[in-house]
Symmetry: C2
Subunit: 707 residues, 2 copies
């Protein structure tokens, strides 16, 4: 390649990267966005918010917590417009985009529309739902909600929550009460300064008897004055790792009375006389959890794509060290180790993206089934089975996808070297905002173990001859896998490899569990805890295999007119599967699916696939279709002019004050300070010691003279 | 165990954990702090800063960037007192503590005393050093330094820096100049608002010829007025991921003149007439880099210990879920999976701590050797060999210890569930402050590859019959390792296992390198890049094995009177070695050191070791001897009263404003908003469509009538 000038500019370098991709970028984008229609909608959303002043993003790193919270409410007012005028499907797609552009706002919005309204929709009877809709809950007219589940001392163990809701028959009311500090509602998003109502999870108590945790809508503030209502004590939770744009708070209730009708009674009912009717199928209430997890799988893919867009564009234009006599330094992306750091993550993000589409589809089907389910419906068992499968799958995927995204963000940050540490690179806030995904809505470790527990149960079912759901059917045959002894591995071989390792790990966990119960006499619960490490690694292998399978099956469904785009996705899919094998090589060797020679060959092929993907990496991330406004990083700009933009951004954001704020008070005295005359200083000490020696000698002489 | 009350308080729970440790906590602390004297000094430092108002830590999460920077200078004034009155050894120990209590201040202080003064000490001739000492550099009297190495477009490639220092013979001056935006000095700590002088790294140019990068002391600001001097353009770099207490800035020089004597000339000299004398042994200048890396190994251990103290105390007092009919919920630490998450990290932090001691010792010896080295000294080659070994060892350890610490901090955060996301837990700032350690003073990936390159070179030396340094002597024999076929593995077996895997990985990388040179005809540099993944994994295995060996040898040196303390450290050491084997199982199976049955046995033993260490985990972290002030997390308090302290801390830090700052402007209009009458709304549309249908029908009728 001959350059007109000794060194191409960063912009020119990026243009060269885009010069002749072996596929159509827009067609690749369509595949990764499900459809042309979805892609176009996303582009419209991006254009809309780019022109909305409240959605300005370039200054967010320098706003204080209070300023950013205030701006959240400006955005709220705008988004309300959309929600009352567009379909749920369109709205969900819009929220996906908001999730990566502005996670704190996404959370504040989601707390009302997802959690609060979701709790009401899911838990209210028809008349109750009508009541809240008439009150204005859909358009925030008179009701801004928050979601009061977590307490200071209880998070994961929802059944152990200690806030009480005691039925007072005489007044037909519930008395909501926080019995001690540990039962304080904690982390409640929106409570600190923006909510009027709360969906409170509390122990239902009737006539001294506990009936478990139910949901009660409790008003917190007067809607005219915004003053706290009597009995409500609210505080601000303050600074967090990220998402400071949402006002998390704590709430303490002191004998707060709400009408009986404020308990959501679709499942459990309390009559006027205090009779409690429990639901026949409590499991159906789990459906709501799956929605949140599904959205986190897709958010993991999208956030990783955002991080990778920046890291890959930067890696393409950043040059460092020249090899040999070359005057032009080498692009970071041309270093094999840089490819090794980023290309497998790129493959993973794309794999997770296709898995998220599949997960959304499964969730959509499940939701319809749940909504149309009538009491005593003959399909009930089928729906419950489906729910169980989706529940377990979403649990494992939520955990491993959010973990892998968090780690992708930080690896991307590190590939920018020092510049990744600048707030303006976008990575610090991306990491800090995303980090909460690993612990909220089901702590990842607990969810992984749930997934592992479900896998053991499926394996046990298989042994007993029960037919398994398609996603876990491979568990029935841990012994039948055999690797190709020669020739190149195809996608099917990789798929079988993952099935082999996952099936063997599940079998091992199940056998450990049995052993603990039978030989060690443990209770079932203790034995489950005893094999938790086994459950964990089994769930991890299952999830990786599942993602690979979803990616592979998405590729198989690609229409013929996308031939060139499919080719690059095939490279990506192979890289995902093979790189993950390298990472988990122990399992493949242990269960004999591969020998050393296979792994040596895989290492070479991964190197090669990384190089192949690197060659098209810039057009591939262009296919993620993220505008500069959403990327919000001068180092990841579309035009590649990173240094000018970064310099300009830093300078604009940090004007130097005309008068130094603490020079006179602190720096000047330091500069003009004279070292204190110190009696104990070395010179003084030497002098003193000499005097002592003389005095001592004199005393000695005097003593000798006297003797 | 019978409890007097149904549920022990968190304070009581922690007291029970400490009731009867099978060792003396203070004696364990002495071992982990090298000596009683060092431990006592650390305790004194903690007491001193706890009573210094400027070192208040509980409010740091709620200070703005400007406030926290101002406080940095308050601390500076206090610390100057110590540095002029205590030995370097004591000072270094104090700085270790400051490093984990207050990383931003540590950095500002280190920029002057470590980097700026280090550059002057290391690079100045005797008369030059005297000049700067007389100017007041030791006590900041008239000189506050910063370190101008990194540029916007060049970090790792120091030789590629583009700032120029052109000799002007007529005036006997150098002209310092920033030729373009990419050559702007960037990230310069202290430059934005607190430094008067800068050690500038620039290309020496004499008579149009470049002589490489040298160091020049350039004054930035007038010391009386603090105004920027002519030709100096400085800006504030602004918000960063962490360490906002240090004022990083950028600097652009526009034809700034400094006297010739401001170039540091210990190694390269420029005479009055412009003759350039190059040093015979440029490598000796690398000595300074090793110091920074050594301190980062120890900081990694100390920061991990701080994180683990919080996570383990929290895990001991936090209860969640009760098993069976037990009314008392289970302590998190009693869950095997929780032990699996934390105990290996505890073992790793302790292993890294002992390795840091060893590293400090090696560095101390090297520094003495370098300082006493005379020109043409017969020991020169020995010292160079030693330097090479320490350089390679510190490079690998810096990379893998900082990575493991960063990951420890985030895992610890996640074990606190949602509470780890609160700023007041301490984890967010700990992570954000520490994160820079992975990319500064040698990017970790680049350092790992340097370590790998050095391992290949040692292996090649061994093949050629050269005797290797003790740290890498095992590389000479990749074929002779054989695992015990039966019986329990002892520490020697584990050591041999790591040596086997590392030796084989180094051999593989070396063979790949040879193959690329010979069979593929690559240049040596290209081949080195081509085997970079191999170098990377080899360096990782070498570093883990090295840490294990340092830990093991430290244990062997423990005196007999520490028998009980040694026992718990032996458990820790086994756990470190075996858990790391589990993590890297692929290598052990691939090179045949272990078979599947060994790994199954190791899994069980790791479970068991985790349980053993869990039983003493609280007293062990007590042995880290970190005061509540340093811990700075209500959730990790010594007394275990976490909920009360956390609640109190959150409330004190976030008083609610008397007047809501944006209710009137933003929330009230939202609450009272009437849905806009929308011509396109569904009702309206239905009406319109009915009208259209009628009009159309009418038109049709009219048409038919007309026809």
């Amino acid at each position: 390649m001959a350059f007109p000038r000794p060194k191409p500019t960063t912009g020119e370098t990026l243009a060269m990267e885009r010069a002749s991709p072996p596929f159509n970028v827009r067609k690749l984008a369509v595949l990764m966005h499900k459809s042309e229609k979805d892609l176009a909608r996303k582009e419209r959303f991006m254009a809309e918010i780019a022109r909305t002043p409240a959605f300005r993003l370039d200054d967010i790193h320098d706003l204080s917590k209070d300023e950013i919270r205030e701006r959240t409410m400006e955005k709220f007012a705008i988004m309300v417009h959309y929600v009352t005028n567009e379909s749920l499907e369109t709205f969900n797609l819009r929220m996906q985009l908001i999730g990566i552009a502005d996670p704190a706002f996404w959370t504040r919005f989601g707390v009302h529309y997802g959690l609060f309204l979701g709790a009401v929709r899911g838990g209210a009877t028809t008349s109750q739902l009508n009541y809240w809709v008439e009150k204005g809950v859909l358009g925030l007219n008179g009701v801004i909600g928050c979601f009061g589940m977590t307490e200071l001392a209880h998070g994961s163990n929802v059944a152990g929550l200690e806030t009480t809701a005691t039925f007072d028959r005489s007044s037909d009311e519930f008395i909501i009460h926080t019995p001690h500090i540990g039962a304080t509602k904690w982390w409640i998003g929106g409570a600190a300064s923006t909510a009027t109502h709360c969906a409170v999870f509390a122990q239902l108590v009737v006539d001294g008897k506990k009936h478990g945790v139910k949901t009660f809508v409790v008003q917190l503030r007067d809607t005219k004055t915004f003053q706290l209502l009597p009995g409500i004590n609210i505080g601000d939770i303050g600074k967090k790792m990220g998402r400071d744009g949402i006002d998390n708070g704590f709430i303490q209730f002191t004998f707060v009375r709400v009408p009986r009708s404020h308990m959501l009674m679709k499942y459990t009912q309390v009559s006027r006389t205090g009779e409690v009717f429990e639901p026949p199928l409590a499991q159906l209430t789990y459906g709501a959890l799956v929605g949140g997890r599904t959205s986190m799988v897709s958010d993991s893919a999208n956030s990783a794509k955002k991080a990778l867009t920046i890291a890959i564009r930067y890696g393409a234009v950043r040059r460092q060290f020249s090899s040999g006599g070359n005057a032009i330094e080498t692009q970071l992306l041309d270093y094999p180790i840089h490819q090794r750091r980023l290309m497998p993550l790129l493959a993973q993000a794309i794999a997770n993206g296709f898995t998220a589409h599949k997960m959304e589809e499964m969730y959509g089907e499940l939701s319809s089934a749940l909504e149309t389910l009538e009491p005593n419906d003959p399909n009930t068992q089928d729906v419950l089975d489906k729910l169980k499968e989706v529940h377990a799958t979403s649990a494992g995927l939520k955990a491993f996808c959010t973990w892998s995204c968090l780690s992708t963000i930080d690896t991307c940050r590190q590939t920018l070297g020092g510049h990744g540490y600048s707030a303006y690179s976008g990575f610090p806030s991306m990491y800090n905002d995303f980090a909460v995904q690993c612990t909220w809505e089901g702590d990842n470790t607990i969810l992984s173990l749930q997934s592992g527990r479900s896998l053991i149960s499926s394996y046990t079912d298989a042994i007993r001859g029960k037919k398994l759901a398609p996603g876990v059917s491979y568990l029935a045959r841990p012994n039948v896998f055999e690797a190709k002894s020669s020739g190149k591995l195809d996608l099917e071989d990789i798929d079988q490899g993952w099935a082999c390792v996952a099936a063997n790990l599940v079998r091992k966990a199940a056998e450990d569990y049995e052993r603990l119960v039978k030989d060690k006499g443990m209770t079932k619960e203790m034995a489950m805890e005893g094999c938790s490490q086994g459950r964990f690694v089994a769930a991890k292998a299952h999830s990786i295999g599942y993602i690979f399978r979803m990616f592979k099956s998405a590729l198989e469904a690609i229409p013929a007119e996308f031939e060139n785009e499919k080719k690059v996705l095939l490279v990506t899919c192979r890289l995902y599967g093979l790189h993950q094998i390298e990472e988990q090589a122990g399992g493949f060797l242990k269960y004999g699916y591969f020998e050393r020679k296979h792994l040596d060959a895989i290492e070479l092929e991964v190197n090669d696939l990384c190089a192949q993907l690197r060659a098209v990496a810039v057009p591939v991330v262009d296919g993620f279709a993220l505008s500069d406004h959403i990327i919000n990083s001068p180092l990841g700009r579309w035009d590649g002019q990173i240094y000018e933009a970064y310099f300009d951004h830093v300078r604009r954001s940090n004007p130097l004050p005309k008068i130094h704020p603490y020079f006179e008070r602190l720096i000047k005295p330091l500069l003009e300070r004279q070292p204190a005359t110190d009696f104990g200083g070395p010179e003084m000490r030497t002098e003193l010691d000499e005097e002592i020696a003389e005095l001592a000698a004199e005393a000695k002489r005097a003593k000798q003279t006297n003797a």
